[in-house]
Symmetry: C2
Subunit: 202 residues, 2 copies
C-alpha cells in the first residue's frame, strides 16, 4: 500500500458509497460491497476510510458543500433576496429528503451516532446561518428589507424551517418521508417564507 491517497480513488469510493446508501440505506450497505463496486481491496478502502460512518459523513458533507456552493454562486447574481430564499428552501427540502433516504436511520440510531455527526450538522447549520445572513444583507442593501438584526433573523429563519422538518421526523421510528409529508412540508415552507418576508419587508 502506498502512503499517499489518490483523489481519483477517493472520489470513486464516495461516488459508489453514495449510490449504495441511496439505494439500500446506511445500515444495509457494507464496506465489502463498496470496495467490490470499484474493484478495490478492502484494505485499500480502509486506508481511505477507517469505517463506514466516516464514509457516510464524507457523502453527507459533500452534499452539504454542493448545496452551499450552488447557492453561494447565486448570491452575486442579480436575483432579488426574496427569490433567493425561495430557491434556497427548495434545494434544502430536496436535500432533506435525499438525506433521509440515504440514511434510513432510526432516531435511536441517530442518537447513538450523535458524537459522530453532531459536529457535521452543527457546522452545516452555522454555514447555513451565514448564507441566510448574506441574503438578508443583500435584501437590506437593496432596500427590500428593513434594517434588522441580521444574526438574530438568520438564526430565526433557519430555526423555523428546521423546526418544520423536525416535526416530521420526531414522531417516527425510522426517518423516512412520505409523499404526503413532503407535499405538506413544501406548502408549509412556502407559507412560512411568505410570512417571514412580509414580516421583514420595508
Amino acid at each position: 500500500m502506498v502512503n499517499t491517497k489518490s483523489t481519483d480513488v477517493f472520489s470513486s469510493i464516495v461516488d459508489s458509497a453514495e449510490k449504495r446508501f441511496c439505494r439500500y440505506g446506511l445500515k444495509k450497505t457494507t464496506m465489502t460491497e463498496i470496495a467490490g463496486d470499484i474493484g478495490l481491496s478492502k484494505a485499500s478502502l480502509y486506508y481511505y476510510f477507517p469505517n463506514k460512518e466516516e464514509l457516510f459523513k464524507e457523502v453527507v458533507s459533500q452534499g452539504h458543500q454542493t448545496l452551499l456552493n450552488e447557492f453561494e454562486g447565486l448570491l452575486s447574481s442579480d436575483v432579488p433576496a426574496e427569490e433567493l430564499f425561495h430557491i434556497y428552501l427548495k434545494k434544502r427540502l430536496v436535500f432533506f429528503r435525499d438525506f433521509a433516504h440515504l440514511s434510513s436511520l432510526s432516531l435511536e440510531s441517530i442518537n447513538s451516532l450523535k458524537p459522530v455527526y453532531a459536529e457535521l450538522f452543527e457546522n452545516f447549520r452555522k454555514e447555513e446561518i451565514l448564507l441566510v445572513g448574506k441574503v438578508l444583507a443583500k435584501g437590506i442593501a437593496a432596500r427590500d428589507f428593513d434594517n434588522l438584526d441580521i444574526a438574530y433573523f438568520s438564526e430565526l429563519f433557519i430555526a423555523i424551517f428546521q423546526g418544520l422538518r423536525h416535526n416530521v421526523i420526531i414522531k417516527k421510528d425510522i426517518i423516512n418521508i412520505t409523499e404526503t409529508e413532503y407535499s405538506l412540508l413544501q406548502k408549509q415552507y412556502e407559507s412560512a417564507l411568505n410570512m417571514f418576508v412580509k414580516g421583514i419587508k420595508k
Copy 2:
C-alpha cells in the same frame, strides 16, 4: 376494596403524583412513594391506576385540559385575536417547560413510550388546532385578519411553534430545557408570532 372509585381519592393521587414527578421526574418516582404520600395502600393505588405510565398520562392530560380550558374562557372575552395568540403562546411555552421538567425523559424512552403517549399528544394537538382555529375565526370576524383557510393556517400555526420546540429537544439525550434555551425560545416565539400575524393581517 370497594368497587367504586372516589373522586377525592383520584384527585389526591393525581396531585401527589404531579408533585413527585415535578420534583424527581417520572423515572425516579415510584408508585409506593405516591401511595405513601396520601396514606393509601399500594393495592388501592393500583385499583385507580394500573401502572405509573397511566398515572403520568393522567397528570399530563389534566395539564392539557387546564391549559385549554383557561384559554377557552378567554375566547368569548373582548380580548382581540392577536393578543389571544400572545397569551396562548406564553402559556404553551410554560407548559412545555413544566412537562419537560415533569418527565425528564430521554428521547429514546419517549420513543419506547410512544404507543402509550402517541394518542394523548395527538389529541392535544388536535384540540390546540381547533382552538387556534377559533382565534383565527375571531380575528376574521373582527376584520383584523384576511379571510383565510382556517384549517390550513391553524395547522401551520401549531407546526411552526411545535417545530421551534422540537429544535430544542431533538438534539439532546435528556429532555431538559436550560434557561438560555428557554429565553431564546421566548424570543423566537415573539418574532414568529409577529410575522405570522403580519402575514395574515388585513
